[in-house]
Amino acid sequence: MIIVAFLTGVLLICGSLIFNRNKFINYLLVALFGTMLLGFGAYQYNNINTIQLSFFKPDSLGILLLLALCFISIPILFHSYRYIEKFNPDETPRSRGLFFAAMVLLISACGVAYLSNHIAVTWIFVELTTLSASVLIYHHRNIRALEGVWKYVFICAISITFIYVGILFLSLSLKQAGIDDMSFDSIRANYDKLNLFWLKLSFLFIFTGFTAKLGLVPMFTAGVDAKDKAPAPAGALLASILMNLGFVGIYRVYAIMTHTPLHTWANTVIIIAALLSVFVSAVYMTRIRNIKRMFAYSGIEHMGLVMLGLAAGGVGVYAAILHIILHTLVKPALFLQYNQIYWVYQSKSIYDVGNYFKYNKTGAIVILLAFISATAMPPSGLFVSEFLIFQSLFQSHYILILVTVLILLTLIIWGFGSNVFKLLFSPSPKTMDKSAIPEISPWESFSQYVLLAAAVYMAYNPPQRFVELIQDAVKLIQ
């Protein structure tokens, strides 16, 4: 019931955001949505593992991701307010309303989709996220944004079709057992009766479809273009909660596969895709010139590592879930800081930036710390999860893959690092007009510090409840 109430509330807020032109009411509505979201998260946390509305069940993985979503939505909504208010003061009321409505819809669709117990319901909400994300990408309404949104919509449409075909094959594999109910619970209860051939095909199609959201080979290009063209707060959302949605979809289907004899085959498929993703990310990182795309490719690398941990098994699954949650905290920090970088340099290219320390000390330290986090160097939180992933790869005797990944990660650190150090330390380009650079208040970077600190805290001193939830989620696979 509460889900219906939440969704109706969200739709009402979206409607009023679109039709209402008054700035103050818009911000009020967004704040109202923020509180609604927190209330929803708290409610679901208290009602863990209860079936709601016969299609939704907040199991531990869903709750973890939902709480992470709630936690980062607040700074992201705040920064989107700052984005509209300070960095783009010439927004029309209509585009502002659309922007906020799309953000609200995206956040709620992702949040509710984490909880779904039925693959078709996840699929419907993935469609909704495509719709809202495309509105966000098209926000600037120029030809480059149009190009980005067209590519995004097209690839996502094809991926959605693939997921649908996978659902059809899944139903075929259930048909033999005579099961009508396609929810994950009922599939889990009937492991031995599934037709393996159709299950194989269905996993292949569903996996390929979800890689568009998750950001793996072969459909990662949609996500990269999207994060490049969308405004930075929207890019932060796309890079964190949308990728988590892809992860949830694949995780639940993979959980079905682990109990069947197809476990090793599914592992092989995932390892191939993940290794190729890390490879692609390494190739692009070394020659990238656009700062936002660099952040996007770093996200792809992290997702590749997560999938490797998932396929490696053992402690890798725990590490994968931990890594995804920490990534959800760290990546938005990068994207939110990007607004200030753009405000200072008025350019996305790496050739036009330099000496960031002089213009925005607090922001530069954020970039430094976020770089340390994103490349998983200690003392960042991601170090713990990546180390555990490598440990699990070693324990599962995937030595060659481990060595390859380490070499590729070195390349990525080099690429990422050379760009970030150019941004921070090298002298600013001579073509820049130094007198026109605005003052940026240090408080703009405050939320990013909080996010990075939360990542460190969650990794090194996790609350007991947090660890229990992750272990509970891991049990789905065992």
Binding site: A120, L131, L146, W150, K151, L168, L172
Partner: protein, 209 residues
């Protein structure tokens, strides 16, 4: 009787591979919509009448009337030139589509499952891959959209194969159709036409590293 309709659908794919003008593509799409209409009526005998009427209405209204009309409106409005520009000559396209159909036949004859009606599987698979091929081998953006619609028709045939047991899946497929058509065609193609004249895929190459 249903086999005849499905084989006719496979024949329209062959015709589509050598079609020269964009209007021919649209006419083939209309014809495919009618075929799917008949196929739905003949296949879904276990579904209750209201649901069946809804599905059939959707096939006729959407696939045969609304979408082709809208696409011809877009073609006229954006003054897109009438020829479809392929990267490969038409003869090679025909060969490739024929090979796709043969491969689909071979593939599905190697499936030992008795649960699935093989004709559906062959036709659905060949339609999906032909649609994918159309997307890859044509220059214009509007033929990409047409290729996507062909893929959707193939997915619809596949959903008919399981539709008797789980009619909800057929409804989901229709939702996919409507969603994708509205989103891709309605919102964005209009905008692309406004901004880019005579859209080629080459113009979409600005967004790269």
């Amino acid at each position: 009787m249903i086999d005849i309709l499905l084989i006719a659908l496979a024949m329209t794919l062959l015709y589509m591979s050598i079609a020269n003008r964009l209007h021919t593509y649209l006419r083939i799409l209309v014809f495919q919509g009618f075929i799917l209409f008949g196929a739905t009526y003949l296949t879904l005998t276990n579904v209750n009448t209201v649901n069946l009427l809804l599905i059939m209405l959707e096939t006729i209204v959407f696939k045969s009337i609304a979408v082709p009309w809208f696409m011809s409106y877009i073609i006229k409005r954006n003054k897109i030139s009438r020829a479809a520009e392929p990267y490969l000559p038409y003869f090679v396209s025909l060969l490739i589509v024929t090979i796709i159909i043969v491969l689909a036949i071979i593939l599905s004859s190697s499936i030992k499952d008795a649960n699935l009606d093989k004709t559906y599987f062959v036709v659905a698979l060949s339609t999906m891959f032909t649609g994918l091929y159309l997307i890859v081998s044509r220059k214009k953006i509007i033929t990409h959209v047409i290729g996507y619609l062909v893929i959707e028709n193939g997915v619809f045939v596949l959903s008919l194969a399981v539709g008797n047991e789980m009619p909800m899946l057929v409804n989901l497929g229709i939702m996919l159709d409507i969603f994708a058509s509205v989103l891709i065609l309605g919102i964005f193609f209009n905008k692309i036409g406004d901004v880019i004249k005579n859209p080629d895929v080459d113009l979409l190459n600005n967004l790269r590293d």
